[in-house]
Amino acid sequence: MSGHDHHHHDHEHDNHFTPIEARVKALESLMVEKGYVDPAALDVIIDTYETKVGPRNGARVVAKAWSDPAYAARLKQDATAAIAELGYTGRQGEHMVSVWNTPDEHNMVVCTLCSCYPWSVLGLPPVWYKSPPYRSRAVIDPRGVLAEFGVTLPETTRIRVWDSTAEIRYLVIPDRPAGTEGWSEERLADLVTRDAMIGTGLARQPAEVAA
């Protein structure tokens, strides 16, 4: 989407910043100078989403649900509480609902109006999720979207698309692949991709990952 990146890598000179870089720098500097934001807080925010919150969180939730029927039941009944058991809470994950794929039914999540996404279990959303092609097509042509992700479902599979118009955040629980009986939760989590938890992918098969 951004056609504005004229890269000059000599950043010693201010006039080599792109307009948006200059604009963001100006905003940050003004807000710090006026005491509106603590510059150290900005670094903690970035670090949180770079290193502490990401799709591995959601993969652990799915792996636990696959392994532990009692946990799966709690995840179905009250996903917010079940996900909080693993320590995943907070911003853009305050109200969670789990939606479960079966051989007959496939779930896909979108936010047509902006970019609502379950940050607490998946981290920050990818660019494609936040962009007009996905936002416009997911609700009218999900099979076409899935084809772009290399996923073809049987013609009879029901597809349920959840448009996140409120603060309810949806986590897709992909179908557990065959041939994973007895696997540890950590090993199962390796099969759960970010896209599988959005619903634009499926869980990996055992053959796709190193033993």
């Binding site: 948006i20 963001v24 905003l27 006026k34 903690v44 007009p132 609700v139 772009e148 603060e167």
Partner: protein, 219 residues
């Protein structure tokens, strides 16, 4: 508002084209944009609903030609000026030229983990009885407000079924405009593909939205 953001069912945008091994941020400025936006919101002067409305209020050509974090920065600039924190002149020059406003609070580094872990839950005590139950047939209303709403155009005046009930939640249509939280019962309502898109649409498709009670009438 019927702005460029209301994208469900629009056409002509081309392929989704996911980027392989996409980085979290495509440039350092994007990370700074995320951080300043969250921290500015942390001053407590606008709701997330108002911030969404600021973004969707961009002129359509501007919205659609801006990258995601460009939209955030443009929305943030609107909010900072509207609430008296920065003037347009200051943002254009990058130089302070008016006295600082007093924020209600400032997000300090040590507060960040707790604040992010708590988030901003929107559920509130209900102030009216729940009108609909799972399984109820409902029709979304036809409305075209000029202000913020979370009822997408593709799902207006459509017949659906209540699937989930979520309690009462802050009502964005009010919250975005400084009219208070005005919580309403919130429902997940599901529509068939043919109901939304016409007789020839994929019959295996269902689409749901999360709808506040005032978006719904019994069917």
């Amino acid at each position: 508002m019927n702005g460029a953001q209301d994208l469900g069912g629009q056409m002509g945008f081309g392929p989704v084209a996911p980027e392989k091994d996409e980085p979290l941020f495509h440039a350092p400025w994007e990370a700074r944009a995320l951080a300043v936006t969250l921290a500015a919101g942390g001053m407590g002067h606008w709701s997330i609903d108002e911030s969404r409305h600021a973004r969707e209020s961009l002129r359509p050509a501007d919205y659609l030609s801006s990258s995601y974090y460009e939209i955030w920065i443009k929305g943030l600039s609107t909010l900072l000026e509207r609430h008296g924190f920065l003037s347009a002149e200051e943002m254009a020059s990058g130089e302070v030229s008016q006295a600082p406003a007093q924020p209600k609070r400032v997000l300090k580094a040590e507060m960040v983990p707790g604040v992010l872990a708590k988030g901003g839950p929107t559920e509130r005590p209900a102030t009216s009885p729940q009108r609909f139950q799972p399984g109820d047939k409902v029709r979304t209303i036809n409305m075209n407000p000029t202000g913020h709403t979370r009822l997408p155009r593709y799902a207006r005046a459509k017949l659906g079924t209540v699937v989930l009930v979520h309690g009462a939640h802050v009502f964005p249509d009010a919250s975005a405009h400084g009219q208070g939280e005005q919580p309403q019962w919130l429902y997940t309502v599901e529509f068939t593909g043919p109901e939304l898109w016409g007789k020839g649409a994929d019959p295996t498709l269902s689409v749901s939205i999360d709808a506040w009670e005032s978006y719904l009438e019994p069917a």
